[in-house]
Symmetry: C3
Subunit: 331 residues, 3 copies
């Protein structure tokens, strides 16, 4: 058919992209915190440290220049999608940002999640997936050839959030063993609390759970902790834990959880972290929050050097850089 | 005015971007399959082969690093916009992704399509345009200085889809002449069927059209084929064509086309491609689908090596890489 | 914890990103035209000239390859966001395009603007912010560590528009002093008119204000001009100014401003710029418009070489490239 030989575009013999590291993450999906034992955590945290140093000194690099990420968000989450997009971009990678339209487009034509993923994976080397249904990332991972990173599957998991939370504790305080960690707020529905608690249960920590009576940690998770020999204690007053806590992990209490609005108002104020509360805390401790906050932490606390929640956001960038590079065999 | 000479930012004498190839596509709009004779097709397909080899070996390259694409979608189409974004990104090009907001922004202020295009072309070197109105891309092309690539103009054309379809046939089966191609489903309204049929009519092929009575190929297209001496045959049963077909091109039958829902249900099942149907097909043949599918091809068929529809998606990436590079004079 | 030393990813000693120029803009916010005296304007305009030359010859460069921009638009504005995205991309910088979803995501969870900015700044080196509330950019700038560039804060300012307007006048006519500039249309509510007028008032110019009686320039702005000794004159007929104007700056008259629709229709036609109107204008003059237009300038005028409004759009790209590079210390 083609009679005339064209001048070739590429000299392909020069180069072949390939994995640089056999790290146990290469081509793996990141679906759940249950995949992360201490060794894996150490690996990712060390890589995140390198990402942090690089980002501070260089800003960006070319580590993932050969790779393309599809950021597929069925429900918008600016914080998470921006973090992944920035992570990929700083590593020199390409990004297909599908952070809005998918629900109006393929989905409206009746396409299944699986077909959407099988289509989009043709365009990229790794997919970050956010979807409102529990188990959606696992389903996608079952069918897709490229690695799937779960960026939140409804009431299920959001593993990169838990990893960045744990990484923040280690970065800020230098170690995890021996710490007293207090979880505050909605411990019943709070996905981030559950995932972080599971990760922490691999370490020698004491856990304090501070919540309204109706929003206590689920029984099965509590029993798991007890079975593992973790020191646990429940209370409904921040004042019971503030003096000894090394970490105060605060979460949002959603108005919608309460049938009695007066009860919500009472509870809300009860759990607010103010400068007065902070005055009772240790000098070397940190306050964390998965954000967004809606009044759980007073703005005046932001100026307190122990307020770690925006540094926590930044750590999310480094953790996601480490994970993206790891599943592509480049870290 | 400016008294002090600043240290200059750039040493411009070093370099001038310019076309590398005089390929007949340079600075041309891609509006319709009618622009593509066999020679053009061969050219683009050979370039797509090179893109495929490069993508597999390198992942990305720098071919279009000097160029910027504006991806302007007045109606969302995740599949198509993602394909173009990935194509440009893998060639090292820059992308302005306007895949959502344009209808809420400039359009809501009453701006015409032409003014929007005349504005956006100031920011880029090539525009990919999706718009619901037939002829919109031709209108844009008439006024714009930069090349316009039609990514679907309503009931009009979607030429890159037809090109990737034809490219898939050639890639999978090694040639086009001599093939028996069966088109299945909604042949009346199916834009992709019409465009692919027009392209195939340049070759020595036999065409089989399988549709419900009410969704037959339009008469004018059928007459064109007959005038050209193409062997055609119509039927309403897949079983009539399955044994001899080299290509089974399946399309979605939209429920909205039927006033009698019972008739739709009957027809729907009649045209479904199942493993049982595939058992009657030749060993060397392919099943294609422009996607999304809604039940026309059973999921179990996905595992059949003859199921080519996701490879077809991937070929779209290579065709679009070839076209983008060609209109910018770099392929 | 970590027992085995990993092979390091980066050789960080090789490089440290740092500001190249001490230009007075480094790490500064761009919030208002009031920040721009003649010296600053000269600086940015000279840098914009260099950007223009580079863009024409190279298309793109690597000047900002180490930097990441978050483009945060609480209200969509395709024109402005595309301009900034293209500007950053052409300088080799990374972009996080948050041009749609933020209002559906973090904001819907009740997050404040300040918290959103404090979060997003963790991912980037500079933020371009569009928000409907007056003063929003100043608020963001007060809290953020990274520079904020105001891309429109409601009825407040849109400084990069005013800068590109003034830059267009200088580029097209070679100088600003001595010019007769006529502002036409809605001078009462037109944000761009007010900002450009403030910038022009630093020069030796004559200003003509052409508007319906109900849409005259606000008194305080008019008084400022008079106090500064600027020659001003008001009229409600384009024909009064067309013969002598060096610049005709036309703006949209919004239907919503009129309670009496008949009055709107009368006024609208009165201010339309047609080829007949242009026939009375000087040979060396320019017509400008911030766009989008809705009939204020007839399409036939587009072919007139004095129609500068699309070149004006392109100048926006160069001004934004200059500003982005300047606040990051790279220009």
């Amino acid at each position: 058919m083609i009679t005339q030989k064209l001048e070739p575009l590429f000299k392909l013999e020069n180069y072949q992209r390939q994995p640089r590291f056999q790290n146990g993450f290469y081509q793996q999906d990141i679906l759940s915190v249950n995949q992360f034992g201490k060794e894996n955590l150490d690996y990712i945290f060390e890589r995140a440290d390198e990402m942090k140093a690089m980002a501070h000194q260089w800003g960006t690099c070319d580590l993932l220049k050969d790779y393309t990420l599809a950021c597929v968000f069925y429900e918008p989450s600016t914080r998470t999608s921006s973090s992944f997009i920035s992570a990929m971009a700083r590593l020199g990678g390409k990004v297909i940002p599908i952070t809005e339209g998918i629900q109006y487009s393929s989905v409206s034509k009746g396409e299944s999640l699986i077909d959407s993923i099988l289509t989009l994976e043709q365009y990229c080397d790794v997919i970050v997936l956010r979807h409102s249904e529990i188990g959606s990332s696992a389903t996608a991972a079952k069918y897709a050839k490229v690695p799937i990173i779960n960026a939140g599957d409804g009431a299920g998991e959001h593993p990169t959030q838990a990893l960045l939370d744990l990484y923040t504790i280690q970065s800020e305080l230098g170690h995890i063993d021996g710490l007293k960690v207090a979880m505050v707020g909605d411990l019943r529905y709070g996905r981030t609390v559950h995932s972080l608690t599971r990760l922490l249960s691999q370490y020698d920590v004491s856990l304090r759970f501070v919540s309204p009576e109706t929003l206590r940690l689920p029984m099965d998770l509590m029993n798991d902790l007890i079975d593992k020999g973790i020191k646990v204690r429940e209370t409904n007053k921040v004042s019971d834990v503030i003096e000894n806590a090394d970490v105060l992990y605060v979460t949002r209490i959603q108005k919608e959880r309460f049938t009695d609005l007066a009860q919500y108002e009472e509870v809300k104020n009860y759990f607010e972290i103010t400068p007065e509360v902070m005055a009772q805390a240790k000098e070397k401790m940190i306050v964390m929050h998965p954000l967004p906050r809606v009044g759980e932490i007073h703005y005046k606390v932001d100026r307190d050097p122990r307020a770690a929640y925006f540094r926590q956001v930044q750590n999310g960038l480094y953790i996601r850089m480490a994970l993206l590079a790891a599943v592509l065999g480049q870290a």
